[in-house]
């Protein structure tokens, strides 16, 4: 739920990275954290298992500059990708303003992508969200690996609404900022003055 404070002219928006386990959600925000700088750099929080898998969420607040007189802050979250963390994923989705679906491009992960995307739609629906009203951007990650599906096939199978999408190699930062900026723009343009 975006938070527009007209008293202090501040905007807070929540962006969630969603997708199958080991798809690169945490890698995306780790890269953003590593590359961000300046006095406004915030701390990244990761609630992980012992073997570095996301247990509940990763959180990275981004204190950005002003847009048309409004100080803007984005709160980036990842969900845990592993199948049995469904309850946690639902909680992280509360109040979401924009979604980045990070798909693993490898052929053998296609079912996991599909399952995760179906879960996303189901979780949003159960919480009363209208998927058509929430900005979503797709990221086809791990494009550097040998056994990847063609992008056209990923688009056809997963991006049926023809949302904006980006190819990425998140571990090297390729496509990471493009994806983030695209969802940020979509979220800002989706803000209503009566929120």
């Amino acid at each position: 739920m975006s938070f527009v404070n007209f008293q202090s002219k501040e905007i807070n928006c929540k962006i969630v990275y969603y997708g199958p386990g080991l798809g690169g959600k945490t890698t995306n925000i780790q890269y953003i954290y590593q590359k961000s700088s300046g006095e406004n750099k915030s701390k990244m929080i990761s609630l992980n298992t012992e073997n570095e898998r996301t247990l509940f969420f990763d959180f990275l607040p981004l204190d950005l500059g002003e847009i048309r007189g409004f100080k803007t802050r984005f709160h980036l979250y990842t969900v845990p990708g592993q199948v049995f963390y469904e309850a946690s994923r639902k909680l992280v989705l509360r109040g979401v303003d924009g979604l980045i679906f990070v798909a693993d491009s490898q052929v053998e992960r296609h079912e996991a992508n599909q399952e995760s995307l179906n879960g996303l739609y189901k979780n949003l629906d159960e919480q009363g969200y209208d998927i058509k009203k929430i900005p979503v951007v797709f990221q086809w990650n791990k494009r550097d690996l040998p056994n990847v599906m063609p992008v056209q096939e990923l688009e056809r199978q997963l991006n049926k609404q023809k949302m904006q999408s980006f190819e990425a190699v998140a571990k090297d930062g390729i496509g990471v900022f493009e994806t983030l900026k695209a969802i940020s723009k979509a979220v800002l343009m989706n803000l209503r003055s009566n929120v």
């Binding site: 739920m1 938070f3 527009v4 404070n5 007209f6 008293q7 202090s8 501040e10 807070n12 929540k14 953003i32 590359k35 961000s36 700088s37 300046g38 406004n40 750099k41 915030s42 701390k43 929080i45 609630l47 509940f56 969420f57 959180f59 607040p61 981004l62 204190d63 950005l64 500059g65 002003e66 847009i67 048309r68 803007t72 802050r73 709160h75 979250y77 309850a87 946690s88 909680l91 992280v92 509360r94 109040g95 979401v96 900022f177 983030l180 900026k181 940020s184 723009k185 800002l188 343009m189 989706n190 803000l191 209503r192 003055s193 009566n194 929120v195």
Partner: protein, 159 residues
């Protein structure tokens, strides 16, 4: 006109008096957005996300025993002299979470009691907690944001 943050800060000072130096107050939206304190401090923002997360997770867990969230619910994680105490706060028809983080206090029970008093006081003030108070028709806040504007926004953090 005093803003909501000043009002809350004054209430906190009044009710916590001698405890003020050992206690910190945070008010958080359900989605983890920190409302109070509003200063963009890295740790404070993380506290917002964690307070919301721990409350929501506990609430889901409590449903296993048919314990349902109400304004009487509270959540504590503490030792004999330090801890975190979270209460739900309903104001302006919305639920927030109010967290008191205290360290090295002689009487933690008093902290929790004062937290409840503060929560009730703030709820009674019916503050808007920064929500839009302008009565406008629903309309898009920004139209036609350019890529340049987005790039400029992110340049603030070196991206």
């Amino acid at each position: 006109m005093k803003n909501d943050n000043n009002i809350i800060a004054n209430e906190f000072r009044t009710i916590f008096k001698d405890l003020e130096s050992t206690c910190s107050l945070f008010i958080v939206q359900e989605d983890g957005t920190l409302f109070f304190p509003r200063k963009p401090h890295p740790t404070a923002l993380a506290v917002g996300a964690l307070v919301s997360g721990v409350w929501l997770a506990s609430n889901e867990l409590a449903k296993q025993i048919n314990l349902h969230e109400s304004l009487a619910s509270r959540l504590s994680f503490d030792s004999s002299d330090s801890g975190i105490h979270i209460l739900p706060l309903k104001t302006n028809s919305r639920i927030y979470f109010m967290a008191i983080i205290y360290s090295r206090v002689v009487n933690p029970g008093l902290v929790k009691n004062q937290a409840r008093i503060l929560r009730d006081r703030i709820a009674g003030l019916d503050l808007f907690l920064g929500m839009n108070t302008e009565k406008k028709a629903s309309s898009v806040l920004f139209e036609n944001i350019s890529d340049d504007e987005v790039n400029k926004l992110f340049s603030n953090i070196g991206i």
